[in-house]
Amino acid sequence: MTGPVLVGGIGLPWLRDLDFGTQFIARIEHERWPDGVLLEDLSYAAHRVLHRLQEIVPTKVVLVGAMPREVDPPGTVRRYTLDLTPPPPQEVHERLTEAVGGIIDLDHTLAVVRHWGAFPADTTVIEVEPEDRAFGLGFSNAVERAFEEVLRLVREEIGAAEVSG
C-alpha cells in the first residue's frame, strides 16, 4: 500500500495575494480528483506540517503558495522540484524557533521538513509572485490571472504521479 499524493496550500489569511495557497485549496477541493489525492490547507507552522507529513507519509507532495521573491513580475508562476538537501542546522534552528512562535512561512516549512526528511523524493513547489500584500480578501488581477496556470500545473503533477486507490 502506498501513501497519498498530497496537494498542500500554504497561505496567510486576510493578506490578499499572500493567502493564495489557502484560497487555492478552498477553490479546488470540491472538484473531482483521483482517489489517493489529498488536498489540504497546510497554513500552519512548519513543525506542525512536519508532524502531519510523518502521519500520512505521502508518496508525492505538491506545495502551493505565494512567495515574494521579488525577482519576477507579479503573477509569475514558478514550479520547481525540491532539492531535498536541508539547509545548515543553524538556519533550521532559527526557522524552527520562529515557527513554534506561530510564524507561517513556506521557506520555514521547506527547511524544517527537509531537516527531518519527511518530504518524499517527489516533491514539487509551485509559487506565485504576489503583488497586493495589504490586509483584505481577494487577489490582485495579476495573481488572479495566474490561478488557472497553477491549477493546470497541479493537474499535470498529479497526472504524472502514480496515484493509488
Binding site: L12, Y44, H47, H51, H93, T97, G101
Partner: protein, 625 residues
C-alpha cells in the same frame, strides 16, 4: 486594604466606592521616565567615566514575535543599568472587530496568537456568553477545560525545550561560561534516576538545539498537546468549535478515552521536566549565587485564573467572584509577595491602560468615559478597558516620548507581571484549590501527585521561591506542566462522571441580544493573564479590547515613569559571562527576557501610514492590539 494608589474603598458590606472628597480620582500626573542617569557631571565623572556599552537586540530571537530590547551595560560593574522594551508591530484587532457580529470575535481574536489561539477563542466565548446571558452545560465547561489543558502542553514544552532551554545548553554555555561546562562534567545530577542524565554535562547536552534529547522530545510533546486539543476541539490551532455557551464539537466516549491516553503520556514527561529544571536551576545557583539576580524583579503579579468548576460557573459578572474562586487555578493580585485579593471584581476594578509612551493617542481627552462603573456599580477608571479606544499614532522617536506598540497596563497603578508560574503562586498562597486528589495547595507551595505511567507515581513539591527571577520562572513553568496535568486528570474524571450520568450536552442554545450589553471574559493564556472586554449594542460590537499577559510583561514605561516588567527585570541583571568585554554575548539579559516566555507579534514591520509590509508572516500577536 486592597488598593493603595487608586482612591477606592469598601463599605461594610464589601461594596466598592470612590473615596469622597477626591476631586479627580483618576488624575494622572505625568512624571519623567525613570531611567539610568549617565554621570556627565560631578567629581570624578570625567576622570573615571563608567564603561558603558549601548547594547540593542532587535529582534530578540527565540521569543514568539517581534520584540526589541535596548539596554545599557555597565562593563565596570558588569550589570545592565538601563532597558527599554519595544513591541514592534501594530495589529489592530480592536479596530477590525468594531461593528462586527460579536460571534466573529471568537474566530478573529484567535488569530491574535499563533502559539495558543485556543485561549483567545475561549476567553472570547466567555465574554460573549456573559453578554448573551447564557451558560454552558457542565460537560461543555469541562470540555473547554480539557482543551485548554491540552493547549498548555503545546505552549510549555516548546518554551522550555526550544526557546528557553538552549540558553542553558552546552552549545551556548561553552561560549559564555566554559568553566561551567567543566564543572558540569564532574557534577552528578541529583535527579538522574528520573530523567536519566548522569551528569550536568549530559543534561546540558540534551538541551542543545536540534540534536539534544530534551529539545527533540519537547518538539514531539507539542504534538501530544495538539492531539489533546483536537480531541476536544476537533481542530487546532484556531479551533472553530468554541461557541458562546460551550463547544460545538461532537464528543463521544472515544474522545475522552483517547484524550486520557495522551494525558498518560504527559505524566512521565512532566516528571522528567520538573526534575530537569530543578537540576538546571540548582546547578547554576550553586555555581554562582549571583544567578539569583538574573531577571529578578519585585514579586508583583496579576492573574485572572483558569479552569472553571462546572458546578460553580454561571457565566455572569454578578457572580464572578464566586465562580472565580472555584477555579482550579485561582485569580489573584500578589504585591510584594503577599496575596492581596482573589476577587475578579477587584482585579477588574484596578485595571488601567496607559499610552504615554506607546504609539497611540490618549482617548480620555475625547470627552466623558462611557462607563463610570462596572455592571455591579464598582468604580472603574477612564483608562479602563471598557472605556478604552484604540487610536494608533506612531509618533515620537525617542525613549522619553513614545517607543512601543504595547500599552502600559497597570493594576492600582503598579507594575504587574503575569505568568504560568503566577497562577501557581496565587493558588499556593491562597492555600485552596478545587477538591483534587492530585493537587494540594499548602500555603507555601503546591503538592502535586502524578499517577504511575512508565515512571512510578510521583509526588512533586513546588515551593514558592524567595525571588522572582529567570531561573525560578523556568522552574515554575516546568512544575506548571505537572500542575496542569493534575488538573487535567481531575477534569477528565469529572467528565467521565457526567458522561456516565447521561449529562452529555456540551452547548446551550442562544439568541444574539439586540440591546446594549457589557461583558468581560477572564481566562489565562500559557503565559498568564487574559481578558477580553466587550461592549455590544444592536447585535454588533461597539468596543472590544484584548489584554494579554505579554501586554503586561512587555509594557513600556507608564506615565508615572515606572518601567515595565521586562525593563525592571533587565535593569540590575548581572553580566556573569566569564569572557572579555568584547566577547560578551548578553546571555544573562537574554535569559532574563526569555524567562517570561514573551509572546509578541512576529517579525513583521508595517508602515501603518501606507500599509506597506516589508516581510509577511502570520504570527503570534498576543501582546498588541
Amino acid at each position: 486594604m486592597c488598593f493603595r494608589n487608586l482612591p477606592i474603598e469598601f463599605d461594610g458590606a464589601g461594596n466598592a466606592r470612590l473615596r469622597e472628597g477626591v476631586a479627580d480620582p483618576y488624575a494622572v500626573t505625568v512624571a519623567e521616565p525613570k531611567g539610568y542617569v549617565r554621570p556627565h557631571d560631578g567629581p570624578g565623572a570625567m576622570v573615571a567615566p563608567p564603561r558603558l556599552r549601548d547594547w540593542s537586540i532587535d529582534p530578540v530571537t527565540r521569543v514568539a514575535g517581534a520584540l526589541a530590547v535596548h539596554t545599557v551595560l555597565d562593563l565596570e560593574k558588569r550589570e545592565a543599568v538601563e532597558a527599554h522594551s519595544q513591541a514592534m508591530l501594530f495589529r489592530g484587532y480592536e479596530v477590525i472587530l468594531k461593528g462586527r457580529d460579536p460571534r466573529d470575535a471568537i474566530d478573529i481574536s484567535s488569530r491574535a496568537c499563533g502559539v495558543c489561539g485556543g485561549v483567545h477563542s475561549t476567553v472570547s466565548s466567555l465574554a460573549i456568553e456573559q453578554a448573551f446571558g447564557i451558560c454552558p452545560p457542565p460537560l461543555g465547561v469541562l470540555v473547554r477545560n480539557l482543551g485548554e489543558v491540552g493547549e498548555m502542553f503545546y505552549d510549555h514544552p516548546l518554551h522550555l525545550g526550544l526557546l528557553a532551554g538552549p540558553d542553558y545548553s552546552t552549545s551556548i554555555v561553552s561560549v559564555t561560561n566554559p568553566e561551567l561546562v567543566t564543572r558540569a562534567e564532574s557534577t552528578r545530577c541529583p535527579h538522574a534516576d528520573v530523567h536519566g542524565f548522569a551528569t550536568m554535562k549530559d543534561l546540558m547536552d540534551a538541551l542543545n538545539p536540534l540534536t539534544g534529547k530534551i529539545y527533540l522530545e519537547s518538539l514531539e510533546y507539542t504534538r501530544v498537546g495538539r492531539i489533546m486539543c483536537m480531541q476536544m476541539y476537533g481542530k487546532y490551532p484556531h479551533p472553530s468549535t468554541l461557541v458562546p455557551g460551550g463547544v460545538s464539537t461532537t464528543i463521544s466516549t472515544s474522545s475522552f478515552n483517547e484524550y486520557y491516553t495522551q494525558l498518560g503520556k504527559i505524566f512521565d514527561y512532566c516528571k522528567v521536566m520538573a526534575a530537569t529544571w530543578d537540576d538546571i536551576a540548582d546547578f547554576f545557583l550553586e555555581a554562582n549565587p549571583a544567578y539569583e539576580q538574573v531577571g529578578a524583579r519585585p514579586t508583583n503579579m496579576i492573574q485572572t485564573g483558569i479552569w472553571d468548576d462546572p458546578e460553580a460557573y454561571d457565566a455572569t459578572y454578578a457572580n464572578c467572584n464566586e465562580w472565580g474562586d472555584r477555579r482550579w487555578a485561582l485569580p489573584g493580585i500578589i504585591l510584594d509577595g503577599e496575596l492581596r485579593t482573589t476577587r475578579l471584581t477587584d482585579i477588574n476594578m484596578g485595571i488601567e491602560e496607559f499610552v504615554e509612551h506607546s504609539y497611540y493617542d490618549d482617548w480620555t481627552t475625547n470627552g466623558a468615559p462611557r462607563f463610570a462603573t462596572d455592571p455591579l456599580g464598582n468604580p472603574i477608571s477612564p483608562y479602563h478597558a471598557w472605556n478604552k479606544e484604540t487610536i494608533p499614532r506612531p509618533e515620537g522617536k525617542n525613549f522619553k516620548e513614545k517607543y512601543s506598540w504595547d500599552c502600559a497596563p497597570r493594576w492600582d497603578r503598579q507594575v504587574m507581571e503575569s505568568g504560568t508560574y503566577g497562577r501557581m503562586w496565587t493558588t499556593a498562597l491562597a492555600a485552596r484549590t478545587q477538591e483534587n486528589p492530585f493537587l494540594d495547595a499548602t500555603g507555601d507551595g503546591l503538592r502535586i501527585t502524578l499517577p504511575r505511567h512508565g515512571l512510578p507515581e510521583t509526588e512533586l513539591n513546588w515551593k514558592i521561591p524567595d525571588t522572582l527571577n529567570a531561573l525560578e520562572r523556568n522552574r515554575g513553568r516546568a512544575y506548571a506542566m505537572a500542575f496542569t496535568a493534575a488538573i487535567g486528570m481531575n477534569c477528565i474524571l469529572k467528565a467521565f462522571e457526567y458522561w456516565r450520568k447521561g449529562e452529555t450536552a456540551v452547548s446551550t442554545p442562544y439568541k444574539v441580544p439586540k440591546d446594549e450589553r457589557v461583558a468581560v471574559g477572564f481566562w489565562e493564556a500559557g503565559r498568564g493573564y487574559l481578558t477580553h472586554h466587550l461592549h455590544m449594542d444592536k447585535g454588533k460590537i461597539v468596543n472590544y479590547q484584548i489584554n494579554t499577559p505579554s501586554t503586561w510583561n512587555a509594557s513600556p514605561r507608564d506615565p508615572f515613569g515606572n518601567p515595565g516588567p521586562y525593563e525592571e527585570a533587565i535593569v540590575g541583571t548581572p553580566i556573569l559571562e566569564s569572557v572579555s568585554d568584547d566577547d560578551v554575548k548578553g546571555i544573562d539579559v537574554l535569559r532574563a527576557i526569555r524567562s517570561f516566555d514573551p509572546c509578541m507579534p512576529c517579525t513583521t514591520h508595517m508602515d501603518t501610514g501606507k500599509g506597506v509590509i516589508v516581510r509577511e508572516v502570520n504570527s503570534c500577536g498576543c501582546t498588541l492590539e
